[in-house]
Symmetry: C2
Amino acid sequence: MKNRYLRALKRQPVDRTPIWIMRQAGRYLPEYREVRKQAGDFLSLCKNPELACLVTLQPLERFDLDAAIIFSDILTIPDAMGLGLTLEEGVGPRFNSPLRTVADIRKLPEVDAETQLSYVMQAIAMARHELADRVPLIGFSGSPWTLATYMVEGGSSKEFRYVKGMMHDQPDSADLLMQKLTRSVTDYLCAQVAAGAQSLMIFDTWGGVLAEPDYVRFSLEPMTRIVQNLKSRQVASNIPITLFTKGGGNWLEMIATSGCDAVGLDWTVSLASARSRVGHLVALQGNMDPTVLYASEDKVASEAIRILDDYGEGDGHVFNLGHGIHPGIEPDRVRVLVDTVHRESIR
Amino acid sequence: MKNRYLRALKRQPVDRTPIWIMRQAGRYLPEYREVRKQAGDFLSLCKNPELACLVTLQPLERFDLDAAIIFSDILTIPDAMGLGLTLEEGVGPRFNSPLRTVADIRKLPEVDAETQLSYVMQAIAMARHELADRVPLIGFSGSPWTLATYMVEGGSSKEFRYVKGMMHDQPDSADLLMQKLTRSVTDYLCAQVAAGAQSLMIFDTWGGVLAEPDYVRFSLEPMTRIVQNLKSRQVASNIPITLFTKGGGNWLEMIATSGCDAVGLDWTVSLASARSRVGHLVALQGNMDPTVLYASEDKVASEAIRILDDYGEGDGHVFNLGHGIHPGIEPDRVRVLVDTVHRESIR
């Protein structure tokens, strides 16, 4: 198996810097759009293990990527909890029954991931089989806080008025919600490992909208509990875990002491500075601005080199974008990026 | 004159921590909405010096604020450059003629602030007169980068595809645009001081979407040139200047060495940590999460106290929100905030 990715996460020597791309199985690929059309909508695609497996593998056919990530959505857990998820193009995620009261949260069921999210486990098992150990397979979940934002707001948000309102005025309710989500996410990620995931990532897309004490209580602590729970369960104890709080650059020291193996960085953070702050504790993943992929091939290559140089010599770097790839990107730009990273990082 | 605000900006001793609120003259006030209705739309209100002066003073009638800020918009400069600004409720700013090509940028005229933006200067002169030295008056501008995002995108943006595209693929064009904007913003702020502004603030609302080297070149360097130009002009040499890059927490050391007097902080940054990083160089403004004002009066008060404690003893703190006040806020919450800050910070 091409094991650069797993080795880099453990800060072990690698022959070249590994690279994968957040949302690498996605709308920028015409072959993905074909399968998506076949499946109907996004959620139907997530829930169809054969097709989810198929699109998981698509980017590997085109590009020399160092990892696959299972095709799924961060909102599978709240969907399984019965909130009625719909995902419409251009509208974003919507929940028919958002959580607004203590009663809503009290009666929120926890998820039995093995059975209720069996479609994810099936897709993982199939993808592992199809990959045949060519590259490792990444499993993932949204962070409790990030899931909570969608569950309480009822969809995407700019102000986060309701979820922050709950946090400010009913912090015990918010804590209860985080506890339930923490347990469900832990079980979900454990089940993904049992199904074949070889690495785990927690996407904290919205932790960066919080004040520091709120981030610590409502986002970082739940993620830390998940990491520690996973590390204490035999099935997952050796599985590297990456935490990614978008906009979390102020809090790297705290994130890095959660027990995770790697920290994902958005593009606003200097890799050199992040490495000097936390490189003795964790590997670092990132961090090209996704919009660079709209630019010329020369610019893509020069920016890739700048980022490799910013990290500097030595191990512990997983190249990635600082956020998911945009749907409008020309696939050939990804090839330039992947090939440049590999060519320019030969040890 | 109540001069806590100006003294705090110079890190001189004050009797209480001063407070003002970004967008304090705004839609959350019913009396503002009345005047706005009278004026027609937002831009007509900005361009009517009598009414702009009137709404500038409104929050001072209600709350014991330590500064007034002239009512205006950050996009007056591109409007004066002929881009055809419209501001529609719910839609946000739109430019009829966005900049997309080198030719667009080359032919972009610079602004003669004294004449083309005389409505701002008149409003400032009137507000200074009406304030009769009760509190100092703040003038402001958008940062060159922030203005450029709207001018190139044609309005608000999530991806910043076009302006970043220009930056990545035509960096010389982007530099030229920044040079033109730097000169216009400098002249504009100088004219505001000549008209009566006693303090200046540069809003870099969108600097935080950039990778570090891009932030330095396209946002911080232009702001630094503006600060240094203002400090070298006799009319403005003693006027304190606050730079505020939303999402700029990673870059405080660089911002603080620009020559500015104070750095504005959004709510994701810990004041204690910011102070230990740059408190020997600059005063700090901020940084309550604006959504706290949706919460109970008790929560508003306890959060105000937490933020005062986070800054700690000593001078150099200007209390504010970490971003503009939301239109849906109950005005009484602002009273609680202002009174708490004053009461809990008596020296």
